[in-house]
Amino acid sequence: MMNAFTPPLALALVDIGRIISLTLIAAGLLWLFIRAIKLKEVERRVIFLFIFISVAAPILFPTVFKEKATPVVKAVFDKIESLPPGSKVLLSYDFDPAMAPEVQPMADAFSRHCLVKGHKIIYMCLFATGQGQFTRTMENVIRPEFPEKIDGVDYVNIGYKAGNEGVLNVIISDFKKMFPTDVNAVPYDSIEVFKGIRSCKDLDLIISIGGGRPGIKEWVLFVGDPGDVPIATGVAAVVAPQLYPYYPKQLLGLLGGVKGAAEYESELVAHYSRFKDSPTPALLMMGPQTLAHIVIMAFIIIGNVLFIQGRRKEGKR
């Protein structure tokens, strides 16, 4: 990770490396395109080389492409942005370490956004392993970046309770019954964050982060629909397509996979200069992805140019 202590020379080298590698790829593709017009096939090893460079270069010289948030992602961002400071937001960590690479960046980005806006966050999880994932947010986001925020006043972690949708069935009407204390055994009534909150219906926003079961579907069916609470989600890419039918009526917005997380991170960086140096793992992961996708699309175009040129030549004969 690049940080403030990286010497300027290294930073300059990274910039030079990035420029050289991007120029190399662009020039190479252009050259192949011109060759294609002259009906020269591309050898597969050349394709392999391009893929390798387009993946390795952005890792070596961190390359961030500006992501413009799609409406589904923007909707979540705008919702958090528009809530008045002090609003109550619930973040549910419904994932395990296996899903973490895709969704942990979302959880961290949501936390950053809520804390910087001065919202109060309630953390919980429907996956037992979600507890450990919260610890990572605690260590990587809250402690280093928001040391002034106080546990119990600005945020609270009520942890995990077994029962899947049964848990949701209870907290839709009464939090305290399911969570008499937070994870540090502080009783419900003496937790500042819970002032004025009896059930999920008193929350301003609920965000479930995950991709399995129990997860966002249960949140929508057992809390969002019956309680009329705004719900948003961040999920792994494979489940995202199945959730679109819920948007925008039952789900105000959603982040799908690394791309969704990257869009959110880029929106966050664009709005808040204090996050300029915060880690943006999803945006970094998108670098190789974007470049590789572009290279593949370029090769599809080159392939078609070859095909069309070939047919034209045959026609002439």
């Binding site: 990770m1 392999f48 893929i51 993946v55 890792i59 948007y247 009526k249 690394v258 791309k259 593949i296």
Partner: protein, 270 residues
């Protein structure tokens, strides 16, 4: 072997030997067995690069990695099979003595003698090695084929046939408030009524035409032929879309390997 090949191989060997030394030095003070750790990371990097070299062309390094992989993985699965199936599942049902020897929990039960059946079938299978009684191994095969056919008959009927049929029961009218309302609020918004309805129409007609494409016993001509043609188009969209959708996951795999090489092996600060 040609002289250049030998020189090349020697260079590679020297390179990775140096890598071992450097890695061991880097691990010193951090890891207890730093020499071993240095070797293991170097080995993993060498094998990673050997496999990747196949993309250029077949070569001695790839052959080495491939043959090593085959030997080690075959033994890996045999060991797993022995400990999990034979020791974990068979002995506890057949023999208390064996269970005690391997310190696994003996499962007493009235019907444990049934577990001699697979043992006998397994032995019959080994008769394959005999020249005269090899045909007996077919009995085991017949048992396996029967099991597979019987189990999958219901399993596929259930999940691939019945459940897929019922999940296609979609309404063709969504949020219907009369024909006037439909036309007055007609737009192409992704979450609008028209697009939602279109989705259901496409699902309904797409599944129907797709099934028609698979009809074997009717000639694909006329209206039927046209429907089957639409079926092929739907399948082509499916294949194109799934292909495009998977690319991201495949790139992630390569990102993982390259990150390993850069960070864990070369120790770059990325």
């Amino acid at each position: 072997m040609k002289r250049t090949t030998l020189i090349l191989m020697a260079l590679v060997v020297i390179f990775f030997a140096l890598s071992w030394i450097f890695k061991a030095m880097a691990f010193k003070g951090v890891e207890e067995h730093y020499i071993l750790q240095g070797f293991l990371v170097t080995l993993a990097a060498f094998l990673t690069l050997s496999i990747m070299s196949f993309l250029y062309k077949d070569n001695p390094f790839y052959k080495f990695a491939e043959h090593l992989f085959v030997g080690i993985s075959a033994a890996f699965w045999m060991s797993m099979g022995f400990w999990s199936t034979i020791v974990g599942n068979l002995f506890p049902r057949l023999s208390e003595g064996m269970s005690n020897f391997f310190k696994v929990h003996y499962i007493p039960g009235d019907y444990n003698f049934f577990f001699y059946v697979p043992v006998i079938l397994g032995i019959l299978l080994l008769m394959r090695l005999s020249r005269n009684y090899g045909w007996i191994s077919r009995w085991s095969l017949a048992f396996i084929v029967g099991t597979t056919a019987g189990l999958n008959f219901i399993r596929y009927l259930r999940s691939d046939f019945i459940n897929q049929v019922s999940s296609t029961f979609v309404p063709l009218l969504v949020d219907w408030q009369g024909i006037g309302h439909f036309f007055s609020s007609l737009n192409l918004s992704a979450s609008g009524q028209f697009i939602m309805m279109l989705a259901n129409w496409v699902i309904f007609l797409g599944v129907m035409c797709g099934i028609i494409y698979f009809f074997f016993s009717k000639e694909h001509t006329g209206l039927f032929g046209r429907a089957s043609r639409v079926g092929i188009w739907i399948l082509m969209i499916t294949f194109g879309a799934s292909f495009g959708y998977t690319v991201m996951g495949r790139i992630s795999l390569l990102v993982g390997r390259i990150t390993f090489l850069f960070r864990d092996w070369l120790g770059l600060n990325i």
